[in-house]
């Protein structure tokens, strides 16, 4: 495996594509199947798009983690944007598929195995999400 982690600064729509690409490549090298590769790319895409649309600027760090004999791909999305005031509402099952801060997050939860979010209004958001290689 070439890299153990990759870091993409997200500021423009092109960066979303770069983050997807780097996640997909890493997932492929790790041995994820095609369906999981596409799921991971979509999840990264949603996270990066949220940064781009609402925080304007942020970073996506994709890395390989090992834990209890398992190996997984870990996505960390961090920004110093406006933050989310009502986490409960944002994480509620998507009655919407597009539009609004955090609209894609329930989808990310469904695509990945774990999902953790910390957000403070005015101080930004950090999301960590893992997909385990079975």
């Amino acid at each position: 495996m070439s890299d153990q982690s990759s870091c993409v600064e997200v500021e423009a729509e092109l960066d979303i594509v770069a983050a997807r690409q780097s996640g997909r490549t890493m997932a492929k090298e790790m041995g994820f199947g095609e369906v999981d590769q596409a799921r991971i790319a979509t999840a990264i895409s949603e996270l990066a798009r949220n940064i781009y649309l609402y925080a304007k600027k942020g970073v996506i760090i994709i890395s390989i983690i090992q834990e209890g004999g398992r190996i997984g791909l870990r996505i960390q999305a961090s920004d110093n944007g406006p933050g989310i005031s009502d986490l409960q509402q944002v994480l509620q099952d998507g009655f919407t598929t597009s539009g609004g801060l955090g609209a894609g997050l329930p989808g990310v939860k469904r695509l990945m195995d774990t999902f953790e979010i910390t957000s403070e209004v005015g101080n930004g958001t950090e999301i960590i999400s893992i997909k385990w290689l079975r």
Binding site: E34, V35, A38, R39, D93, P106, R110, R134
Partner: protein
């Protein structure tokens, strides 16, 4: 069997059946595909996984496939990921829905226990029949019947404007409001004024209740009634062989704090009938587009007036249910009082 092995098995089945179809191209392979589809849905396999199975199978079966065609599947797969999210949302929404429906089921049963039984102490020259059916699980219709200490049969029929869970909550208020008031029996118009205050105080401004309240005196056979914006009751005079509307002016409950209600009375003769009901009886669409008319309801009542009170109420309901293609648009309540010959 762990998840991975299970998935392998499903994908193998997919590959095998697809292979068969490609070899023979026959309809029965597609029939099998339909059965496979059902079983995969039962197993919670999501649509992007199906595309994944397809890609795997094609790769194995066609080693010389054009690389561009193979590549096109990645695009399809990408599109299908969004549908996969929707699919999994559906599975969890369905669970929530099942949970909510079981709650509604329990609540509907509780509602049934709120309805009083037909009182046993009615004199033999009087017959009472009641039929009350909800359009959905929860009803917004309510009736109350009881015999008070002074020998009056007291009857209330109410309709909550609004449906579902809020209407059910409101109905329980109406029940307890009536029960707490009828400890010391009141004139129909006074009772409606009191209930109006309770409703106005406790119920959301967007919710209204119509009610007809009447007392039937066992000794002089006078029926006194008042109405809070409720569908006019009907009175059948045997002597005239005709139905009359029992109109009484008064605003719906909950509109204003102080409301006064007109009180009317009639002397009920042998073979006469009084029918109290809710507007669910007129909320019937007939001949595709048109609502049923009050005159048609009267005709219907006329048709069944020879039956015992309970059978009359039930038959009217059944006939209306049939007319509305077995799909009630509104709750239906019918209370029939018959004075025998």
């Amino acid at each position: 069997m762990d998840k991975q092995t299970k998935e392998k098995k499903v994908s193998d089945r997919y590959a095998q059946m697809l292979h068969q179809y490609i070899q023979h191209g026959s309809e029965d392979a597609l029939y099998n595909a339909q059965q496979l589809s059902k079983s995969m849905i039962d197993k919670g396999v999501s649509p992007e996984e199906i595309v994944g199975f397809h890609i795997e199978s094609i790769k194995k079966d066609f080693l010389n496939i054009q690389p561009e065609v193979l590549q096109s599947f990645d695009f399809l797969l990408e599109i299908m990921i969004g549908y996969g999210i929707q699919y999994r949302e559906h599975v969890s929404l369905r669970e929530k829905q099942i949970q909510l429906q079981s709650e509604i089921e329990i609540a509907a049963k509780m509602q049934q226990t709120l309805l009083p039984p037909i009182p046993s102490s009615i004199p033999s020259d009087l017959e009472l029949g009641i039929c009350s059916v909800a359009a959905k699980r929860m009803s917004g219709d309510y009736y109350h019947v009881f015999v008070d200490n002074s020998g009056y049969l007291c009857l209330a029929v109410a309709d909550i404007i609004g449906k579902g869970i809020p209407a059910a909550l409101c109905m329980s208020l109406i029940k307890y409001a009536i029960e707490s008031l009828v400890d010391h029996p009141l004139d129909p118009h006074t009772l409606l004024s009191s209930i109006n205050r309770v409703v106005e105080k406790n119920i959301d401004i967007n919710m209204f209740v119509t009610m007809v309240y009447g007392t039937y005196c066992f000794s002089d056979h006078v029926f006194r009634y008042a109405s809070a914006g409720h569908e006019p009751s009907l009175y059948y005079s045997a002597q005239d062989d005709q139905f009359y509307d029992l109109e009484a002016k008064g605003p719906v409950l909950g509109l204003t704090h102080e409301a006064t209600y007109q009180e009317q009375s009639i002397e009920v003769q042998p073979n006469d009938i009084i029918i109290l009901f809710t507007d669910g009886l007129t909320e019937i669409r007939v001949e595709e587009e048109r609502f049923i008319e009050r005159d048609e309801i009267k005709e219907l009542f006329n048709e069944y007036k020879h039956l015992p009170a309970q059978e009359m109420a039930d038959s009217i309901h059944k006939q209306l249910l049939k007319l509305s293609d077995f799909e009630l648009q509104d709750d239906q309540t019918i209370v029939v009082i018959k004075r025998s010959a």
